[in-house]
Amino acid sequence: MIDILFVRPADDSAAIQVAVWGQAVRQMAGGFKTDDLSGPQATRKSVDGKLAAGARHLFWFGHGTTTDLIANGQALVDGKNINHLSGGMLVAIACYAGDVLGQQAGVPSRCEAFLGFDDELGFPAAAPLPMMLAVTRGLSCLFHKSHRIGCAADQLRKQFDVVRLDYKNNGVAYGLSASDARTAWLFAKSNRYSVRTHGDLSTVL
């Protein structure tokens, strides 16, 4: 049994960027027994195998739809295997999964809680680092303070607020024009308002 299964498919340029965010989050999980399916290791067969062997929580960094977490057009996590978690949380740094997939958490399910987004997750191609920091800092209380998933959602929202001010006030330092910085600000604010949780918000790692 492992505590946390990280899945980071990195199947295109955006997913490669988000996979890096996952690596940064994984580095905060030193006190936990973890496993990592990254790049070509992330397949439906490998995810199902790890879940069958026992994984309490799953952290996904990649693409998502309303119903599935996907790589190379294939669902690696969906309504079928989400129930094979061993009573923990699903954190999906991905688009849309908070809309349908996330709502399966705790209904009842072996997936007790969900944290993710109910719309597109976007970041500026030329300056993704602040958005990465929002995600890593937002999730850090799960690892460093044993906080509840509900707290992590609040922290994630707060960090997107910090980031949007950063893009607005320091856009030039990131090499962005005023309008491109405004676009980054818009997406940080959009990300902030699409953070969603489902299930038992008192769930901890």
Binding site: S13, A14, H63, C95, W185, K189, S190, Y193, S194
Partner: protein, 105 residues
């Protein structure tokens, strides 16, 4: 799917579409990815301008939600109107149309 965001009326949508059309037409990197999305796609300024011309398309509807989210009032900063948000696009458009500096990567 669409989350709760403020309603944008037809006039506001037209303002967004016209502003982005002019902005993309003058943008020095109009065809380069400006935004990456975790659905695997990328948005250049031209992609954004084209998308909002089709408000019923998934991408167009999403971009209108993004602009609508920009007008949500919270305690993080002074609330801004859509007009104020679009002013940054119009200012850069005027600069670029006039051959001004392009501070872009």
């Amino acid at each position: 799917m669409p989350r709760d965001v403020p309603f944008l009326n037809a006039d506001e949508r037209t303002q967004i579409a016209e502003t982005l059309r002019a902005w993309a037409a003058s943008h020095p990197r109009a065809e380069s990815p400006l935004i990456q999305l975790a659905d695997g796609s990328e948005l250049s300024p031209l992609d954004m301008a084209r998308a909002v011309q089709e408000p019923d398309s998934p991408r167009g509807a999403f971009l209108y939600r993004v602009f609508a989210a920009g007008t949500i009032e919270d305690e993080v900063e002074r609330p801004e109107t859509l007009e104020e948000i679009l002013a940054d696009y119009r200012k850069d458009t005027e600069t670029w149309e006039g051959g001004g500096p392009a501070r872009m990567r």
